[in-house]
Structure formats: C-alpha cells, structure tokens
Assembly symmetry: C2
Homo-oligomer: 186 residues x 2
C-alpha cells in the first residue's frame, strides 16, 4: 500500500478535478479512505496545507511528463499530441483540468495557493512554448506572434474546451483540438 499521504493527495486531487477545492471536505476524504476525519487532519492539519500539497504534487507530475517529453526524440507534433492527450482523460472521468478548477475559485483560495497556481500555469505555458518554438525552427509549424503568446492561447483554449466538453460532449473537445492543430500547420 502506498503512503497514506500520497493516497490522500490523490483522492483530494480527484475531488478538485471533479468538484472543486471548496466543495469537498475532510469528511469526504475520511469516508472514502475508511479512516476518521481526525486522521486526515493528522497528515494535513489545515485544508490549506492539503491544497498546497495538491499543487506541489501536480507540479511534480507535470515536471515528470515535461522532462520525459523534452528528453525524448519525439517530433514537436508528437510532443504536442502527448501534451493534449492528458486533457481527454479528464473528460472521460467527468472532470476538468485541476488548474482550471482552481482558477475558477481564484478569489476563494488563499494567496499562497493562488501564487502556486499561477506559477504552475506559467510553467505549463513555458513548456508548450518550447514545443512551438522547436516546431517553427524545424519548419514543421507556423504561427503569427511569439511562441509564448501562441502557447498561452493554445493552453487556455484547450482548457476552455475541456470545461465545455463536460456538459456538451467529447466532440466539443476533439473539434477544438483539430482546430488548434490546423492553426499550427505550415
């Protein structure tokens, strides 16, 4: 069995993605884990502690994925596909990107969480920006504006599409994906 702490983070992360941070409780976690509420508090004394841990954990997940892709010999298009594939998983689970979820609650979460959220989002855009830059250098992608501007647009459009898809069906998402990819074709 994994470490309890990891287990709690995973569970909480699932709830953030499907319900939001403010809308789940220690009670939800304790029930799903089959332990007492106080036991959850033992691992994460306050909900903010848990929130920060969720963000840090997600940042590590992204780092692992991005490092793997950066160190691979995949083409920019293949990297982009791998990046985009993750969002399809959210939809399948009736969820959205956890960063989108927390974004919608930006005025409710603590400043520390908001800062962490912002930082991770910048990191994500920076990563996508790198893919686009490489694609353009190789003459495999084409776009107006800077790589980082284009990446910012692409990332926010993807996440908007995921949110939309939860209520309106997966086609909404696949359509956005192909539209975005067409935009980048030389």
């Amino acid at each position: 069995m994994r470490k309890r702490k990891e287990e709690i983070i995973d569970l909480a992360m699932g709830l953030v993605k499907s319900r939001g941070f403010d809308s789940f409780s220690y009670s939800d976690l304790s029930k799903k884990l089959g332990i007492a509420k106080a036991s959850v508090h033992h691992h994460f004394p306050t909900k903010e502690d848990l929130g920060m841990a969720i963000l840090e954990n997600f940042c590590e997940t992204l780092t692992a994925l991005y490092d793997e892709l950066n160190e691979s010999d995949l083409t920019p298009w293949e990297k982009l596909d791998k990046y985009m594939a993750r969002f399809a998983e959210y939809i399948e689970n009736g969820a959205i990107c956890p960063l989108s979820s927390l974004q919608a609650e930006a005025n409710v979460i603590s400043e520390a969480m908001r800062d962490s959220l912002r930082e991770i989002e910048e990191y994500e855009i920076y990563f996508v920006s790198g893919i686009l830059e490489e694609g353009r250098e190789r003459n495999e992608m084409k776009f107006d504006g800077s790589p980082s501007e284009t990446a910012g647009f692409l990332v926010s459009a993807m996440k908007g599409a995921v949110q939309q898809a939860r209520l309106h069906g997966t086609d909404f998402f696949t359509n956005s994906v192909s539209t975005l990819k067409n935009m980048l074709k030389p």
Copy 2:
C-alpha cells in the same frame, strides 16, 4: 429602488462570477443588503431557487443583447466585437463568465441547474454561429468546418482566456481575442 428580488439576483450573480455558486452564502447576501438572512430566504426559499433564478435572469440578459444585435444593421464583425466586449468587463471586475464559473461546479450543482446551464450555453453558441454564418455568406469571414463547430471553439476559447487572464493579466485576453479574429479573416 429596484425590486428586492432583482437586487438579490444581481448581488448573487456578482458573487457567482467572482467566487462561484457554492462559495457564497445567504449570510454574504444579507450583509451586503443590510437585511436579515431570513429575509433573503423569504425571496428565495432554497439556494437552488436562487440558483435557478440567477440562470433565468442571465438568460434574459443574453436574449436582450442577442436580439438587439440581431435586429441591428451592424456588420458581422461589429456584432462579434460587441459580443466579445462583454468578456473584458468580467476581467476588469476580477470575475469570469458566470457560465464558466458554474461549469467548473457542474458536478456540485443540481441537475436542474446543470440542465439550464447547458441550455443557455447552447443558446450562446447558436447566436455566435449565426454571426459566423452571416460573415461567411458575405465573404467577410472565412473558416473551415461548420459555423456551429467554429462557434463552439470560439466561445470556449474566449472563456478559457478570461479565466487565464484573471491570474495572468489582461494581455492574455486581448491576445486571444486578436488570435481568434485573425483566424476568421478571409
């Protein structure tokens, strides 16, 4: 003075846009209005009643705007500009589109609210779809795919950009707007 009911809806709508539906309370409303919590319950017995009223009211607001634009002699591009202008207001107020906010809470709100939300979003896409169709017929706009597919992409990309802009600055939004408009240029 406006009707209390309207006043409560407006106030609640503001809180949905900036904080989300689950994260504001009757207490928030009563304090801002200077009346007792029970007085708010008099107008909207349950929070779901209030939630439904918020959605219906927003639908009326959209209908008024869309009807006005449809009956005007504005060009498709001018209509699109007017449509997009509303989103800039959200950002200025540290808010996001109320539909985006509720979307993020899709698994938390009631089924009735979810259905209403979905319906309004379809209506919005249908409206934008009309603008795009007219633009293409007049040879003033150009896009691959159907008008409704393109409208779905445009709407979700706009809302994603608004969410992103709240944490990363207005430039994020203006950049997305110009990218989307460039996509449609013939």
